[in-house]
Symmetry: C2
Subunit: 332 residues, 2 copies
């Protein structure tokens, strides 16, 4: 099919209904509402995180990347809470009726993400808007009853860990905005890696069970390490102290920072990494380390929760480095 | 507080967190996600229906009315499915940081709606957008296991009913757009009634139990009678036939239509009524009529499901009146 999609029914039944196949409570997207059957012994975790063109992505990004990101940012929240992705609803607002080719690519990106994360589209809505394209996903995950991992329950003395590497997405965003600025700094494959970390975040779905088993608190790093750690610390009534030298960097990010120390802000305050920051009580560390052997993603111990308030990042001389307000406020 | 809200934390903790009080799984809006505890014997019904300034409401409508409508349109879907409202998430996208006074009124409207419908805010997100104000609510309701009322399960021979009155909201929208056009047609109180039906739809929360008990199919009339009945009929592989004389009109709507027959389009195709259209099998009619005695809202029998396809509205001579495509497509 070529040209623009002519009405909502066509859009839903051609491109979205196939994404609901396999989940009976989606009713093929033919009803006003979806059904999530109760599963004895499990609670439902709910996260909602819309993405808007010009705010969270660029309107001319590839449709399949936009789709992936829309679902990934929500799945990331579920993973940080120890929940296994189950389903999602999606409300789309289009500035103009999309082309068939765009919508096919968008549905393809969702299909790929669904398969990677293990969930189905179960409902939603489409509208036209005078504003930019916006994709509002609400995602649902299952967690064994009473085991959702909270954000504000870290304790003084807990060790702090983070998955993957930090700052890649913020650097990737800079490169994505103006690739020419960076062409002489890194090989093309490294630039692509960093841009990919911005465009296609990897929610840490496989961390859910480990977090349920060992984390005293967790959240995903979506607005930057300093800002998100500040939230974790504030709710715990404590202070998060990190060692700068322990913060995990990808090789390309390390190279960029070595060339220009200004890029360090990406490490401390850059958003969009969607890694998981979590705390583990001292008494559980040994068992936690054993459990990590079956986890394939890298996990770095980066600091500790101490009495006090705020967030400090200490250099090799034990002195706090300037972290500023840090982080990104999508509201400002 | 005067002036504009300066950051997301202030907005959430000052205005939104109080709306989450009383629902433990909302965690005071302090976490990345909310928890809906499983309730043995109940399924969860999920509906998502955003509203956007310039599409579903006017940007200068009163904040409390916008808030009411945002929650009402979602609660309406739950009621039509036989579910009792439980909770909702809300993603807000603002073209500029709102004034404290606006946000206080908005939260006030939500508080009023929550109390009327019986649900709590449990999570959400706020963003800035280059587009219009948008409010994306996903609402959750509980229904006894296996009892969700579907849209596509009407049978030939079923009687068709509708709650309340039809067309008021579409007329109210016309009056709201240009009150001067109507000042000589109706008393001010009648004009206010119709505008109120547009601004403040009444989800038929009290219908849920009756629908579960007797309805073979149901949906809410949000895009106009002909269009929504067409959906119900198409999924049933049948035809909906209505008697024009039986379609329920409020006294003000009846007066306006008497003055100008063109207003009849509001009755057949006008959106935003949020009444419930449902079918009851012949064999259940007697018991259904008895059960209605305890329902306080008016319910009209307006037609029947017959073999065939499409929707017909018959005049007193049994001839179909022109219904056109009917209804509103927010996507077009």
């Amino acid at each position: 099919m070529t040209g623009r999609i002519s009405n909502e029914t066509e859009l839903i039944q051609t491109y979205l209904a196939p994404l609901a196949a396999g989940y009976s409570g989606a009713f093929g997207l033919h009803d006003d509402a979806a059904l999530i059957a109760s599963e004895p012994g499990f609670d439902l975790v709910v996260s909602t995180d819309p993405i808007i063109a010009g705010v969270h992505f660029f309107a001319n990004d590839r449709a399949e990347d936009i789709a992936w990101k829309a679902l990934a940012v929500n799945t990331s929240d579920l993973s940080a809470k120890g929940a296994a992705p189950l389903a999602y609803t999606m409300a789309l607002a289009f500035p103009e009726a999309p082309e068939h080719s765009w919508m096919a690519a968008f549905a393809g990106g969702l299909k790929e993400a669904q398969a990677a994360f293990g969930c189905h589209l179960i409902g939603g809505d489409t509208d036209r808007t005078t504003g930019p394209l916006s994709i509002s996903i609400t995602a649902f995950g299952r967690v064994p009853k009473g085991q959702m991992v909270r954000r504000g329950t870290a304790g003084v003395g807990d060790h702090v860990f983070v998955t993957g590497t930090l700052g890649d997405a913020a650097l990737g965003l800079e490169i994505h905005r103006d690739p020419s600025r960076f062409q002489s700094h890194l090989p093309a494959s490294d630039l692509r890696f960093l841009v990919g970390r911005y465009l296609r975040p990897s929610p840490r779905v496989e961390m859910a069970a480990v977090l349920r088993g060992f984390a005293s608190a967790a959240l995903d790093v979506s607005d930057g390490l300093v800002k998100d750690a500040g939230r974790l610390a504030a709710l715990a009534g404590a202070r998060a102290e990190f060692q700068l030298s322990l913060l995990p960097l990808s090789a390309p990010a390390r190279q960029l920072i070595a060339k220009d120390g200004g890029h360090m802000t990406a490490l401390l305050g850059g958003g969009d990494d969607y890694e998981i920051l979590f705390s583990v009580p001292e008494a559980r560390i040994a068992d936690f380390q054993k459990a990590l052997k079956s986890v394939r993603i890298p996990i770095a111990e980066i600091g500790v929760i101490v009495a006090g308030q705020g967030v400090a990042v200490l250099n090799e001389r034990g002195q706090p480095v300037e972290v500023g307000a840090g982080g990104y406020d999508h509201f400002k």
